[in-house]
């Protein structure tokens, strides 16, 4: 694992070099891109498949972009985020194994304030789409659970740019909490055969809110200069939970992330 992380750090340092110089089109606002690779642990529960919690290693990737909106007099930023993770988890007794995967895309806006030099606080909303699956390797007619959902999330950002010995550092934290949305789920004892082979639908799209699907995503990074590159290190927590149609589900993913930040300007 140590070698993998060192390799990732080296790759990220190389990739993060050579930012587009600002001078040729200084009037256009830069877009900040952050690409992060993660490794950590996940704990998965899906009572449609098993009442037991499965745990195991998880690998993930996050791409985040942020730029000033063309409106909002410089106070509004546009944020995009695409995240994916895959895990291989096992039951407490190691008799059961499962693959778990999740892909999320989010897009939204933040209204920003700069209360102190270098400090930026932002509050906004994201529209999120997510899909995923859990595939249990030992079940018969209920081997897998598919997931598809859309929600609107409240998002908050705190970012602080500072210098140490004349070198630019940046600390950034973003937290997103889904407020309302809709999610696909089978009914309590419903088989996928009924849904997809017979076309029998029964409360398979449910309204979600923080009481029946309390979820959150936290991405905290420290970006440090490394040569001409800007290397990011941080922590990514992705907490997805739901209790719909008497079926409980959670996927608690905690990952250490490493990556790079680039600021690009789109010149006319």
């Amino acid at each position: 694992m140590r070698h993998v992380l060192l390799f990732l750090v080296a790759c990220c340092a190389a990739a993060g070099r050579g930012q587009t110089p600002a001078a040729p089109c200084a009037s256009s606002a830069p877009t900040e891109h952050q690409l992060l690779f993660g490794a950590g642990r996940v704990n998965v529960l899906d009572t449609y498949l098993s009442p037991l919690e499965y745990a195991g290693p998880v690998l993930g990737v996050v791409h985040r972009s942020e730029r000033l909106a063309r409106w909002g007099r410089g106070r509004v930023t546009v944020t995009g985020l695409v995240a994916g993770r895959a895990a291989y988890a096992h039951s407490p007794t190691d008799d059961g194994k499962a693959w778990d995967g999740e892909l999320t895309a989010a897009f939204g806006w933040h209204r920003n304030w700069h209360p102190l030099p270098g400090l930026r606080l932002g509050v906004g909303g994201l529209a999120e789409l997510s899909t995923g699956f859990t595939y249990n390797l030992r079940n018969g007619n209920n081997p897998a659970q598919g997931r598809l959902g859309a929600d609107v999330a409240l998002s908050a950002i705190a970012a602080y740019d500072f210098s140490l010995r004349g070198r630019p550092f940046s600390a950034r934290m973003q937290m997103d909490v889904p407020l309302t949305g809709a999610q696909f789920t089978p009914n309590y004892g419903q088989s996928y055969y009924e849904i997809f082979s017979l076309g029998h639908y029964d409360r398979n799209v449910r309204w979600t809110h923080p009481l029946n699907a309390p979820s959150a995503r936290l991405l905290a990074t420290l970006t440090v200069p490394l040569g001409r590159a800007r290397l990011s290190l941080g922590y990514w927590a992705d907490i997805r939970q739901s209790e719909l149609n008497h079926l409980k589900r959670h996927a608690w993913s905690h990952q250490f992330v490493v990556g790079y930040v680039r600021r690009l300007r789109l010149c006319p």
């Binding site: 098993s50 004892g189 088989s191 923080p210």
Partner: protein, 351 residues
């Protein structure tokens, strides 16, 4: 920027943070309350999983007086922390057999608990030695997508379908019908077919209908209560898109005709030109799902009941139109009484 403006500027930020925090704090972690991995804990987990998810409690209470709470009271004293894993397995296996359901199984490393009285208490009515006499040697019959078939010497087609574990190809089914199209009647032998995929059973059954017919009804549990069910919804048997069988057909059954094979019989019984010959089927009208116990044993149980087109459950089996057992004398003579009965019926229908 003046620091005096800071509180004003931070007001919306503070409100958002408070909203975020309250959303997170008012909602708790979603977890499942699973008993500990002890002898008692595993007993409780098995009883509760079936209590909440098994689908035939009310039906079996009416059929033979099943009382799941009484079962718990009767078996609980047999569980102690000093017992071995195998002893616990025996107790749990016996408890699952109270459900009289071939779809309820407990899988441990050393054994699979299963209920077999639905076939063990009855004549076998099938012999692979007799089947060999009718099908002949490997070069005497054809095999397509798991179906073994040939023309018997009285011009009756014979198709042996031993399993629905995998689906049939359209081309394969078309070729089987094409090869047997000149026969006066057709025997489809699903004796000792333990089931598999419902879609495969529907696919084979689609050879025998010329227009969509209601194949049955299906429902599922909508909550943990014994009677929490969705309204049963009809599902259709669509006609096969290529060559279909238009002459009389006899379906051969025995007590080991189970699950998807039982459904195959259910789809076709009562349709014009279809005669079910042999013994009562084994049943198995609940699609099984799986769960796990804290010790890691896998539990399978019936979860989604399937009803016939009269809205009756065939969980305990389907009676044939013509009840026949293979007689001891016929076993000795090397004659399959059930096949011979079907042949006679089909020859008579062809005249």
């Amino acid at each position: 920027m003046s620091l005096r403006l800071l509180p004003t500027l931070l007001r919306p930020v503070r409100a958002a943070v408070l909203l975020l925090a309250s959303a997170v704090l008012t909602s708790s972690c979603i977890t499942e309350d699973v008993p500990a991995d002890t002898r008692q804990g595993n007993f409780d987990a098995l009883w509760r999983t079936l209590d909440e998810r098994y689908c035939f409690f009310s039906y079996k209470a009416a059929e033979y007086g099943l009382d799941w709470n009484e079962v718990r009271s009767r078996y609980a004293p047999a569980v102690s922390e000093g017992m071995t894993e195998r002893q616990l397995f025996e107790v749990l296996a016996d408890m699952t057999r109270e459900l009289r359901d071939g779809h309820v199984n407990l899988y441990a490393a050393h054994d699979v608990a299963r209920y077999g009285a639905w076939f063990d208490d009855y004549p076998m009515n099938y012999s692979d030695s007799l089947e060999r006499k009718y099908l002949g040697r490997a070069e005497d019959y054809a095999q397509a997508s798991g179906l073994a078939y040939r023309v018997l010497d009285d011009n009756i087609g014979y198709v042996r379908c031993a399993s629905f574990e995998s689906d049939f190809g359209d081309g394969n089914l078309n070729e089987v019908v094409l090869a047997l199209r000149g026969c006066d009647g057709l025997i489809v032998d699903v004796r000792s077919n333990g089931g598999g995929m419902l879609t495969a059973a529907q696919h084979l059954a689609s050879l025998f209908v010329n227009e969509p017919v209601v194949a049955g009804y299906m429902s599922h549990k909508t909550g943990p209560g014994h009677d929490d069910f969705s309204t049963p919804e009809a599902f259709m048997l669509e006609p096969f898109r290529a060559l279909r069988w238009q002459k009389p057909v006899a379906i051969l059954t025995n007590r080991r005709t189970y699950s998807a094979a039982n459904a195959f019989v259910m789809y076709l019984k009562g349709l014009p030109g279809v005669t079910v010959v042999g013994d009562r089927t084994g049943g198995g009208a609940g699609m099984p799902l799986s769960a796990e116990l804290p010790c890691g044993w896998l539990l399978r149980f019936s979860a989604c009941p399937i009803y016939d087109r009269q809205m009756q459950l065939s969980e305990m089996g389907i009676d044939p139109d013509v009840k026949v057992d293979i007689s001891a004398a016929d076993y000795a003579r090397g004659t399959d009484t059930i096949i011979e009965t079907a042949r006679a019926l089909l020859r008579a229908a062809a005249r």
